[in-house]
């Protein structure tokens, strides 16, 4: 294992990304984040596809049974908070829940294992937990942001959604008031819409990044404390990992449902 001169260097090293392109510029890529998120997305898809391909309405096998439990869980959440008819809602919610859950779970893999393995193939920086990278969470959140508008367009039309930017959240009856309220509404509505993906991305990123940071700190604590701290924090993270995946999915469903509602 690589040795470090100071704790600061160790932390720096573990919070650094494997980057292609000029560091600091927008046109650079976090290869580790992309690699592991795509890998985990593929894991998600192939497991679920394996179950879906042989899905039977008779007695389900072990895999199908497990997958159906997940699908049923997601579906019941959708039924609770979504009242529209867009058939994209199921795939979106399922993808977010399972994918985010998988991307969170890799955080529980021993912290130094993958960076250590990577050091043998000449990769200096590797973070395997995509959700502790703001780019990953923001990417999904922006996807949801686009979907919010898409859902709105499907039900209200482009004009209907555009009109809402001037008529909500404050509505008036008479024309003069409407005109007065329009710029105020535009401001509030814009903020409201931007806050949605922003809060989604920051919530998940914040939770996971803080978790990583704590794991790093545990890793540089004295060896006789590491197991106790590591165990306690892992158990706690186990809770956060599932909870954050669920919260991301639940909020997405609520946002998409709101997008179709009339104000």
């Amino acid at each position: 294992m690589a040795t470090y001169d100071s704790p600061g260097e160790y932390i720096d090293h573990h919070l650094g990304h494997w980057v292609i392109g000029e560091k600091g510029s927008f046109w650079s890529l976090h290869v580790d984040t992309m690699l592991f998120s795509v890998l985990l997305g593929a894991v998600f898809f192939f497991i679920f596809y394996a179950a879906a391909r042989k899905a039977t309405s008779g007695t389900p096998g072990g895999l199908q049974n497990f997958i159906e439990t997940v699908v049923d869980f997601v579906d019941s959440n959708i039924k609770d908070s979504y009242h529209g008819t867009n058939r994209l809602i199921g795939p979106i919610a399922l993808t977010i829940f399972v994918w985010v859950l998988l991307m969170n779970i890799v955080k529980l893999i021993p912290y130094d294992l993958f960076p250590w393995l990577a050091s043998f193939v000449g990769v200096d920086y590797l973070r395997i937990n995509p959700t502790s990278d703001i780019n990953a969470t923001a990417g999904v959140a922006l996807g949801v942001f686009v979907m919010i508008f898409w859902f709105g367009f499907k039900v209200k039309g482009v004009g209907g959604v555009g009109k809402e930017f001037f008529t909500s959240p404050f509505s008036a009856q008479s024309l003069p008031f409407k005109i007065v309220l329009a710029p105020i509404n535009l401001f509030f509505k814009t903020v409201e819409e931007i806050v949605k993906p922003f809060s989604l991305a920051m919530r998940l990123f914040g939770n996971m990044y803080a978790g990583s940071l704590i794991f790093t700190l545990i890793a540089i604590s004295p060896w006789y404390m590491q197991w106790a701290l590591g165990l306690g924090w892992s158990l706690f993270k186990l809770l956060v990992i599932v909870l954050q995946a669920f919260v991301f999915m639940a909020l997405t469903i609520v946002y998409l449902s709101m997008a179709e509602e009339d104000h």
Partner: protein
């Protein structure tokens, strides 16, 4: 925390995953679950119907058994009555027949006695005539004394 092109890559990955899920994962699973739900509902309904039919059948069976039992006991009662009647009839018949036979026998007997008496009388008369003839030495003319003889016979 620096935003870069990864965010775009992530959006693309997300879009592709959603599309794949929409295309290959979600519909078959949800469809299978819906079908199973229907099957279960159907099965439960069928079981309910079967139970109801069974109940009806058992009620019907009970009714039939009760009726059959009633009929059987009625038939037995009738047969008993009939047999008693037959015995009574036979008895009456036998008694009547016996009386009739007795009557016949009695009548026959009386007839016989009467005839025997008549014959006896005749014989006595003849003997008397014969005796008298012998005593008188001459033949009593039966024809001539027929009237006398008859009277005699009657008096005997």
């Amino acid at each position: 925390m620096n935003l870069n092109a990864t965010i775009l890559g992530q959006m693309v990955s997300f879009a592709i995953l959603v599309w794949l899920t929409l295309k290959f994962v979600w519909p078959p699973l949800v469809e299978a679950m819906r079908e199973r739900r229907e099957k279960i509902a159907e099965g439960l309904a069928a079981a309910e119907k079967g139970n109801k039919a069974l109940e009806e059948a058992s009620t019907e069976t009970e009714r039939l058994i009760r009726e059959a039992r009633e009929q059987a006991s009625e038939i037995i009662a009738q047969a008993n009555r009939r047999s008693t009647e037959m015995v009574e009839e036979a008895k009456t018949e036998a008694r009547r027949e016996g009386e009739r036979l007795l009557e016949n026998a009695r009548a026959q007997m009386e007839q016989d006695v009467a005839r025997a008496r008549a014959e006896l009388r005749q014989e006595v008369a003849e003997l008397t005539v014969m005796g008298a003839g012998q005593i008188l030495g001459r033949e009593v003319d039966a024809k001539a004394h027929g009237e006398l003889l008859d009277r005699l016979a009657k008096e005997l």
